[in-house]
């Protein structure tokens, strides 16, 4: 029996386990998924917890509910990958040999990377919402907050779901308006990027929205440290932004396993061929989801589009054929913008987000780069789709490659 090992049973790993279990014969292949945490978190839901829209129970389910029958599931932490020996060592020293390895270990926040971030004020007046604990503690903080300076800061790019920080400030604007204290809350969006977002057209449209919602944009801010005593953040070039409440997106890094195994770059991301999704170093290792260094968004939609490509390519590799399926960097993100509206963006390696209709050209029902109620509905539906279709690797009626049809090129 030969083994395909999948490290990480989050979104990408679970989709791959489901696709491969259907395609491979149980007599020839054993599929082994290893994950350290028995709980599956619907991470896009973390955004809504601070505002009381979702509670913690809406975003957690047992991982085992989503794994297919007939595979091997190990609940343990992988300590090391010995790629040259084609084996994995678990925390309790068990050795697992593999023929092919899929790395799906995602990224985590590492607040320790920024001086002063995880000190006295951490989870008292400095919060993250990229973990369930952070989101829940922030929810409790918001319940009694009377207002002041709310500063959202992105420590460094890349982060997973690069639109989530924007959604956070849009929702904060909505939340405090509904509570009748919007005039008492000053909201600032402090980012290392030169604008609201990376690419020119969407950056302009989203920047105008910040303006309209009376949210200050502080661009080109590279955080050096947090002052816990006088409550301000300071950039490397000496700019200071004072806060009463700091909502931080700390540095995002791949799991320390990747570093221990010598497989990562300086952010513990695995150097990966951006088209075939194969590790640049080892032919029998493929990478899905946030764990790779691909120059596209770290998002659930990306892991989903990648899964089609990775599936084709691993079957080709097994048959000793070249990896012909090519990923184009397709990403697709709903941006919740408050007041029951949302925006949708769709892009890939070569084409920046453009306005238009999606997925059916001219029809939609979703509108690209435009605020609509339908887009908000799409975001709400996404959770249902995620639990019921996405994780199980069931095909959605969406192309994995990006399409230009239905999009408008602006001059």
């Amino acid at each position: 029996m030969k083994r395909i090992a999948i490290i990480g049973g989050g979104l990408g790993g679970t989709i791959m386990a489901n696709k491969l279990a259907k395609a491979l014969s149980e007599e020839q292949w054993v599929i082994t998924v290893i994950d350290k945490n028995p709980k599956h978190f619907y991470q896009p839901g973390f955004l809504f917890i601070p505002f009381g829209i979702y509670s913690t129970k809406d975003v957690v389910k047992p991982k085992k509910n989503f794994f297919p029958l007939g595979i091997e599931v190990i609940n343990s932490e992988v300590y090391k990958i010995e790629a040259d020996k084609k084996r994995i060592i678990l925390k309790e020293k068990t050795i697992i040999n593999y023929e092919y390895l899929i790395i799906a270990t995602g990224v985590n926040i590492v607040p320790e990377e920024t001086e002063g971030l995880k000190e006295e004020l951490w989870h008292k007046s400095i919060f993250d919402f990229y973990t369930i604990e952070g989101a829940y503690n922030l929810y409790n903080f918001f319940r009694y907050w009377k207002g002041g300076r709310l500063v959202l800061n992105i420590a460094e790019m890349p982060i997973k779901c690069p639109v989530a920080p924007l959604e956070f400030v849009f929702l904060a604007d909505y939340f405090f308006s509904m509570r009748g204290i919007r005039d008492k809350v000053e909201i600032s969006f402090v980012t290392p990027l030169p604008g609201a977002f990376t690419k020119p057209i969407s950056s302009k449209i989203l920047g105008d929205m910040l303006d309209k919602k009376n949210i200050n944009l502080v661009p080109d801010f590279n955080i050096a440290r947090v002052d816990n005593k006088d409550k301000y953040i300071e950039s490397y070039d000496g700019k200071k932004v004072p806060f009463d409440l700091l909502v931080s997106i700390p540095v995002n890094m791949g799991d320390s396993l990747i570093e221990r195994s010598g497989l990562g770059d300086d952010l513990n991301l695995v150097p990966t061929d951006k088209h075939t999704l194969r590790s640049k170093e080892f032919d029998n290792i493929l990478v899905i989801g946030d764990a790779s260094d691909l120059p596209t968004s770290k998002a659930g939609s990306v892991a989903h589009f990648e899964s089609d490509i990775l599936f084709e390519n691993i079957l080709s590799a097994i048959d000793g054929r070249p990896l012909n399926s090519k990923f184009d960097g397709h990403a697709n993100c709903f941006i919740e913008s408050g007041f029951d509206k949302g925006i949708l963006i769709d892009f890939n390696y070569d084409t920046e987000p453009l306005p238009g209709k999606y997925p059916l050209p001219g029809i939609g029902p979703f509108s690209l780069l435009e605020e609509t109620k339908m887009n908000h509905f799409g975001k709400v539906m996404f959770r249902w789709m995620y639990w019921n279709f996405l994780l199980k690797g069931i095909d959605l009626p969406i192309e994995s490659h990006m399409m230009m049809a239905g999009k408008k090129r602006l001059a």
Binding site: M157, P158, P194, F197, Y236, D237, P295
Partner: protein, 106 residues
């Protein structure tokens, strides 16, 4: 729209964002003059450490290194990078090093 940049009669072609179109064309006199254009009047030894590191990295890897990488590996720390190349060290240093526009990650 392409631009031309002249140093002592030699013509360097820049792309629309102001990066040297052909990294091979780079030489020190280009670096000195383009730096002035970007508000850096003198290229010190520390500037050159960064520039040499970035050019070497690009030669090896075919991409411009990230700010994090430069601060960890060039021998010049983050704070110094900001004082040497004010307002966006990586973009400025890439321009002076004759490298293409750094890829921003979405």
């Amino acid at each position: 729209m392409k631009k031309e940049f002249q140093v002592k009669g030699k013509i360097y072609e820049l792309n629309e964002d102001g990066y040297l179109a052909n990294p091979e064309q780079w030489d020190e006199s280009f670096a000195v003059e383009i730096a002035k254009e970007l508000g850096i009047n003198e290229l010190t030894e520390k500037h050159m450490m960064v520039i040499n590191y970035m050019r070497e990295y690009y030669k090896q890897n075919g991409v411009v290194p990230t700010l994090r990488k430069v601060s960890k590996e060039s021998g010049v720390g983050m704070k110094d990078l900001y004082s040497l190349f004010p307002d966006g060290p990586i973009k400025k240093a890439a321009k002076i090093s004759g490298l293409p526009k750094p890829q921003s990650c979405v």
